[in-house]
Amino acid sequence: MDTANSHEHGAGHDDDHGESHGHGDHPKFLAHHFDTPLQQFDTAKLGMWLFLAQELLFFAGLFVAYGIYRNWYPDAFSWSSHQLDPIMGAINTVVLLFSSLTAALAVRSSQLGQKSKTSMWLVLTIICAFIFLVVKYFEYEHKFESGLLPGGHFHPHHLHVVRAMHGAAAAGIPDHSGTFFGIYFMMTGVHGLHVLIGIGVMIWILIRNNRGEFSAQYFTPVELVALYWHLVDLIWIYLFPLLYLID
């Protein structure tokens, strides 16, 4: 076969499909290798769900470590958990839940093609994400000051009891409390990193929205970033009781 002589049969390479779309009505946002906007949208969403699946497995490692050490060192986990401030944690939970709501509403607005409303909801989501990080910053600062650090660096001092302790937890600082803080910093740190990445991506989507790239026909990126953001929220829904509210 002489490749130099091979040529395309005109522009009709979509004609074999049930729905006929020539190049003529190939919208600008539709990539060349897709036939319909619906195919592109569904593919993108499947890709995002697969990505979220890998995110879940990524966090799963941390949850497994948490489960094992909580099983091994229940006293240390109980004592350490009482050093965390559940009020701060609860505030952050509400902030993240609210940001999830605004993210969902951003998607809804973009589905309806309401550009300025979409921007507003996105901005609100980003603000919530920042509030979350600020609260987290104060919590971290308190841990650093009190020497509540991971593993080998654990040297507690200046403790002020945030939550009343009872049982073994009240008896004194149990061994291996440093392990709890190792896991605490990994879990909240990796989660915080996801929040930070989420902020970056949402700012990018916000800019694209303001440029008018999205419409009721094409809102895929808004939908995808919202899916990601809901996952970040989802992880926190578990982190909050597991870290802050151990009996």
Binding site: D42, L56, L105, H230, I237, L242
Partner: protein
């Protein structure tokens, strides 16, 4: 390329199901309600039930987010399978690993031999277990708790 989620209209365009704002607000309020419940329960002394309650409430909240905020309700079934499947594999990871870490150094009934977790040596005939805290004392087959096995625990050699 068939999509049960996008029924009726089949012109290749994207026609999402648009939920009312009220629904989103209702879900949000539900999430807040469960957050209050979980904090409240956190201050009540429930013992081991504490973990169970926390997990159950968190799972209800997570389900609300996934089903309504992430639209899994109206989405392609395969996307739901991806999500649930990944949780299943995370579960395999957790359960199998804890099947090991919860049962280290326990009796091998076939041989009538017990490993002494403190020394890693064989104890023929399965003598009394080495001293351990009362709280950690359990009958045969109970998980060996932390303070026996784990201080300075090298991997427990057999």
């Amino acid at each position: 390329m068939s999509h049960e989620a996008h029924d009726k209209i089949d012109d290749g365009g994207v026609h999402p199901h648009i939920a009312p704002v009220k629904m989103y607000i209702a879900i949000f309020l539900g999430l807040i309600f469960f957050t209050v419940v979980t904090v409240a329960v956190g201050f009540v002394h429930l013992g081991p039930l504490n973990l169970l309650v926390a997990i159950v409430i968190a799972t209800i909240k997570a389900a609300l987010v996934v089903i309504f905020f992430m639209h899994l309700k109206d989405d392609a079934k395969f996307n739901a399978l991806v999500f649930v499947g990944s949780l299943l594999f995370a579960g395999v990871f957790l359960v199998y690993t804890m099947n090991d870490t919860g049962h280290r150094g326990q009796i091998d009934p076939e041989q009538g031999v017990e490993v002494l977790p403190s020394t890693g040596e064989f104890a023929p005939g399965g003598p009394a277990r080495p001293a351990r805290s009362v709280a950690a004392e359990g009958h045969e087959g109970e998980p060996v708790t932390a303070d026996v096995v784990l201080p300075e625990h090298a991997p427990q050699a057999h």
